[in-house]
Symmetry: C2
Subunit: 412 residues, 2 copies
């Protein structure tokens, strides 16, 4: 059986590099999970089912004994053995554990308090474990949290938006999760770090090495105060499949995914699809329709049941269910709003007045009323009422229906 | 009674400047409508009710005789007389008709074939008539048509988008309606003219004069091949109230309103509100969230039950119900998509292959299936199936649900 010895002594010896304080059964359990990690690719639901059903130790014993898994069909048994057995070697496992120990990568299984339970929403596709650098305990504090993801080839616009959203959110206590890549991911991580907030990088390859290599320093900085994690064991290269599966982890780990900038076929649409499938919040930042870099986010706003149109950190907080939005301007707009605010045609004054209240009091959300009717009910001159209704309408506080003026039914 | 003589002879004499060929009853009717136009502000539903009930001639006779209108309450009768009677003078009417005749402005009432019947959706708020320069018959050809509106203080981005949308839509036979203002309105009109398409300007003041004055030449060009129209009589200044009411006309006249660029409190949100109230299509073009000029369009996408996110002329056509959208790229994106398309992470090849078909054939929209299951059904190697599913997912052609891979239910 390729030298995998599941005895307590062997398990303890194998796990020694990780420096864990292990009880007997715990040692066996962890060791078996680590071995399974080495055997399967992320998202392997056959492995997920047999491990969930039998526990990692018993499942591994049966695999090594070439026993059939009752949880799988005959064909699945055959396929699974073809996938898993070629990787079953104690050498591979010990190499992996040695690297983890040397690079300070911890093994976190679902038995531990730090395990982020929201990952279990993935069912049989959930990861067997996480390999983690940094503040392991922070993994349990990601509800709520937000994934800020997007194109590697970010534009200056995308980079700016990612930085501003990440800094404001992380700075106000919302953990920012991303994929550690160039472009949007990197901008989000950096800004979250600068703001003194918690940021988490989920990698597609082993957690011990930075990918891309140009982000080695950034990944180290993230591990110093936050978390760098992967479900694939140390020594694993990031493959296309692992990127796709890593995207599902980003979506599953967070309360909402916000795509900051993405081309028409960007991989971050894959993350968005996972978020939608999992019932997580999904938002997308609009941009110039003349920029290919925003065509993917506009696609999300139109499709996938409609990603929320995100224009500010407040919009993200609303998506996370964190606070009601009180907005009187365009969110992340800078400078002199008055000068550039389009200012076309008459716009209303901001202040609420007694007259406003009287006019609104005279309206109903159920039936439309003429201005004359409203004036009578409000005890005001009809021309004053007309002017007021026009102003209120610009602010969306009243509606002009075919049968007259009404209050919007959604609002107070 | 201030000199208004409703005899056929007087009506014919008054209407002579308009050069119409009038039968007796028609002359009286038109003259009475013209007088009512002079008496009421746009959207006066009390006037709308008495004219609809009694006809314009009889309603005018009663008004002049200071008779009560059974259609109105005592208070409304009192208010209405206070509003209407001060304007009742034959001098004002004849001035107005003289200007109209001199400037080639035609009177179009709802009796004529050219009357755009969609305006009747406004009920008692519908205009009494339209004062029209240009191709009167084109008024009856605005179903479908699109309103392209937005900020006067347009950015270069908004200007570009308005021009491209208007040129492509008008050039392909979709009439473009707007308000003749600086900024987005002007850009839309100009591009529609350049594309050889039909464009309609609805003015808040009298149709005989350009507002703004700086658009005198543009308004003349619109009248030369298209339509310039207003519901207020010649000689009327554009007031705030008339701008608001003109916005309702733009929304009512068109199949859909698309706001191209708008600040947080832009008047074009008022037009959008009318479109939503009237059940017309409503779209908004996204832009940079750092630009105050797009904060209003983003607001529309989020609020008002969600304006459609418009990124191309095809999106507008879809809003108008004109054609199914077949898109493979980001719509109005220019240049080398490959270089700027965000290109992050793996993206799939565009071409459909037999393997794609086999994989999709093996999937269901109702139940999720493991890759193993799909491979078995498709008769393919499971690793090939996994790779294919990953690619298809990026394109939104398959979904990964908690219970496995599925076909999206919306698509084939």
């Amino acid at each position: 059986m390729s030298g995998i010895d599941l005895s307590v002594a062997a398990a303890r010896a194998a796990l020694t590099p990780l420096g864990l304080d292990l009880a007997d059964e715990d040692a066996q359990h962890r060791y078996a999970v680590a071995v399974w990690c080495q055997l399967v690719e992320p998202g392997d639901s056959a492995a997920g089912r047999v491990v969930a059903s039998l526990g990692p130790v018993e499942a591994l014993v049966r695999l090594a004994a070439a026993a059939e898994f009752a949880e799988l069909t005959a064909r699945e048994n055959s396929d699974a053995r073809k996938r898993w057995l070629p990787r079953l070697s104690s050498r591979g496992v010990s190499d992996m554990l040695r690297i983890a120990g040397a690079r300070g990568v911890r093994l976190v299984t679902r038995r531990e308090p730090a395990w982020p339970q929201q990952l279990d929403d993935l069912g049989p596709h959930a990861p067997m474990c996480l390999w983690v650098r940094g503040d392991v305990g922070a993994l349990a504090r990601l509800d709520p949290s937000v994934a800020l993801v997007g194109a590697r080839a970010a534009s200056g616009y995308g980079d700016l938006v990612a930085r501003e959203l990440a800094a404001e959110l992380a700075g106000s206590g919302v953990p920012v999760v991303s994929g550690g890549a160039y472009g949007i991911d990197g901008a989000a991580h950096r800004a979250a770090l600068s703001a003194g907030g918690l940021t988490v990088a989920l990698l597609a390859g082993g957690a011990e090495r930075a990918y891309p290599a140009g982000h080695t320093q950034l990944i180290d900085q993230i591990a110093a105060t936050g978390v760098v994690a992967s479900e694939v064991p140390c020594g694993s290269a990031p493959t296309k499949w692992r990127f796709l599966q890593r995207n599902r982890l980003i979506a599953a780990l967070t309360t909402a995914t916000v795509v900051v900038e993405a081309g028409w076929r960007s991989g971050s649409l894959n993350t968005a699809g996972h978020a939608a499938t999992l019932g997580r919040g999904l938002g997308a930042v609009p941009g110039p329709i003349t920029s290919p870099g925003s065509s993917g986010t506009h696609r999300l706003i139109r499709e996938y049941g409609g990603a929320a149109c995100i224009t500010s950190a407040d919009d993200v907080r609303e998506l996370l269910g964190l606070s009601a939005v009180t907005r009187g301007d365009g969110g992340m707009t800078h400078g002199s709003g008055g000068a550039r605010a389009g200012g076309s045609r008459p716009a209303s004054a901001g202040a609420r007045t007694d007259d406003t209240t009287r006019v609104r009091d005279a309206l109903s959300a159920r039936v439309g009323r003429d201005a004359d009717d409203v004036a009578r009910r409000a005890g005001m001159a009809v021309d004053d009422v007309r002017a007021m209704l026009g102003l209120l309408r610009l602010e969306g506080m009243v509606l002009a229906a075919a049968d007259g003026w009404r209050l919007p039914s959604a609002h107070g």
